[in-house]
């Protein structure tokens, strides 16, 4: 990307007021966002501004609501019966939870890659092509598929078997296929929920390299349990934790370097150094 982006440096916690500037500095902004499953408050009062074209890692203990927060960013929580959200999530200045916003439009622009690779039980080609087709793509489909597969660093491995079932690929290849599928519809943001947790170290490394490459064009928000991974690949890190009511909340959000070398909060340091309960 050629557009220069002013790198946000200071911590974004608590910065109040919805900035509807839409100048591209922040890909997505959560403001006082709380999520409930029924009566249970899973995530409370999250405020964070995710910078554009960077990799932002979300870390925190299990059950602190990382996946929940991630799903809120493209309204996947709509699919869960009983899930409810308060506050605002701004995407380019628009609150995606506005009554008149169509979740389908949102999800096309904010893609998602899941923890467990979930290719469609169709051919490799069809997996990549489907999303663009339903969204009305009318260009050269073959070229588009190739471009997406190249971007996902999968082309060389599958170019001879595009018509074979995607279920025949290895776990790592399947996950990269899911990434190719997601970038084929040209989203602005890609959400990844522990994309490498089910993979071996080598496959994990390839996914990490891929994320690095993709971050030049896309904003990536990735949930991970792996501290080294977060430190290796991300530009920013958000640390979540749970309070006494088992509700998750954001503790710290800052430059990855700062979070890992000089955390602002004691609990962050405890968690990163492994002293967390």
């Amino acid at each position: 990307m050629t557009i220069a982006i002013e790198r946000p440096t200071q911590a974004q916690i608590g910065s109040s007021g919805a900035s509807a500037n839409g100048n591209g500095r922040y890909a997505i902004e959560a403001d006082a966002m709380s999520v409930f499953y029924g009566d249970f408050c899973a995530v409370r009062e999250v405020r964070m501004k995710v910078p554009t074209n960077k990799i932002t890692a979300i870390i925190g203990p299990s059950g602190c609501g990382k996946s929940t927060v991630l799903r809120c960013f493209n309204r996947m929580n709509d699919l869960i019966a009983g899930a409810r959200i308060e506050g605002e999530v701004l995407f380019q200045g628009h609150n995606i939870y506005d009554a008149e916003v169509d979740p389908v439009e949102v999800r096309r622009r904010i893609g998602m890659v899941f923890q467990k690779a979930n290719p469609f039980p169709k051919s490799i080609y069809e997996n990549v092509a489907w999303g663009t087709r339903i969204n009305g793509f009318r260009g050269d489909m073959d070229e588009m598929v190739e471009r997406a597969l190249r971007s996902a660093a999968l082309w060389e491995e599958v170019k001879d078997k595009l018509q074979q079932s995607a279920l025949g690929l290895s776990g790592g290849q399947q996950q990269r296929l899911c990434i190719a599928r997601a970038i084929a519809v040209e989203p602005e943001i890609i959400l990844m929920d522990e994309p490498a947790s089910a993979l071996d170290p080598i496959a994990t490394l390839r996914i990490e390299d891929l994320m690095k490459e993709l971050s030049e064009k896309y904003t990536i928000i990735v949930v991970t349990h792996n501290m080294q991974q977060a430190a290796r690949i991300s530009d920013f890190t958000a640390f979540f934790s749970v309070d006494d009511n088992r509700s998750g909340h954001l503790i710290e959000f800052d430059d990855t370097e700062k979070v890992f070398t000089n955390p602002g909060q004691k609990s962050t340091e405890d968690y990163i150094t492994g002293r967390f309960g």
């Binding site: 493209n74 996947m76 699919l79 019966a81 389908v104 439009e105 949102v106 999800r107 096309r108 622009r109 893609g111 998602m112 890659v113 899941f114 467990k116 979930n118 290719p119 469609f120 039980p121 169709k122 051919s123 069809e126 489907w130 999303g131 339903i134 969204n135 074979q164 079932s165 279920l167 025949g168 899911c178 599928r181 997601a182 519809v185």
Partner: protein, 430 residues
Amino acid sequence: MMALQSSQRASDPAAGFMPSGETYHGQVRTRRRRGRVWALIFQAAMLSGVIALCALLLSIVNRSFGYVAIVNEIDPAELAVDGVPLNELPKEKLVPILEANISSGLMRRYEHDMPFAERSRENVHGLILERVVEPQVEASWGLFDSVFARGSIMAEAEERFPGSEVYFRSWLTASFISKSQSSEPLRTGVRTAIFGSLWVVFITIVFSFPVGVGAAIYLEEYAHKERFLNRLIQTNINNLAGVPSIIYGMLGLAIFVRIMEFVTSGAFLSGGDTTANGRTIISAGLTLGLLILPLIIINGQEAIRAVPSSLRQAGFGLGATHWQVIWHHVLPSAMPGVLTGTILAVSRAIGETAPLVVVGASTFIAMDPNGPFSKFTVLPIQIYQWTSRPQDEFRNLAAAAILVLLVILLALNASAVLLRNRFNRNRANA
């Protein structure tokens, strides 16, 4: 055990009541014996199921084949011309024989139905057999008697039906399948009934498959389970599955046959034909459609529920609409299950009898149905009618028709299995 006892004895005031030594071993032996006896009983119960199935099938096979004693009104040998037996005579010789032996009025009617000049030799030969020779079944025996007690059958036939012709007959023949209904047991067939069954089932599928799958999709994908209306629909479907089939027949009689007569009789097509009534294929098909609808819905729901939610999430994550996700991913994955359930439901519809009796299958019909507004009979109805006749030969016919019905059902179920396997294979290397 001993250790347990001694430790108990120390703390438990009830100690000492636990049997020990020989008493205990004796008890264990009794308990074990009781266990063995019951295991035998359980196995016997299972065996009884197997026996029931075998007895059922054997009794049908038994009745489908066997010796018959036939008495002819006129011995075909007497009809030979110049020493050439009847079944070798050419058509030109057969027509005069027919003319000589039946009334002129009947002859004119045959001529009117189809001129003799156009009739084939086989047709004329058949008419002679039917009208002149007039073979009558005097008695029939089962397959097992025919095989193991041939001698006594022959003796009995000789004694009771002198002059009868006794031969081994398969009631299930090619002509039984290809001939339409007739009042003569030796010349009747199930062609009309088979066509009737096919037509009725066709209507049933056309109605109940889309509606059933649609309802299943609605309930699994769209309906909010907390809403009263949706819970009502679900409970209602579960209960409809338990309503006796004859009630559906009465529903069909009152709604399709009677209230909607103008439509179901086809009168609206022919501009108000007053002789037609609503006892037609379409009424029967819709009645059976309502009957199997709950089965299709419940099966479909199960199949849709089994589709992993990760598949749906993947679709939604790409910005697909709900229906796109359903149509492209959920339904294809659920299809094998949906189809298997549908085929089972359709098998049920093919075998249903009672509702169609109530809706009003025709008792006697010799013409192939030619559309949804025809009168109809179906295989099970045919079986029912033949079974209700007291004469032995009709029981034989019923058994043969049952074999036809069972073969159709078997083919359907086999196709369900094949279909499922193919779907699975396709999905594996799509």
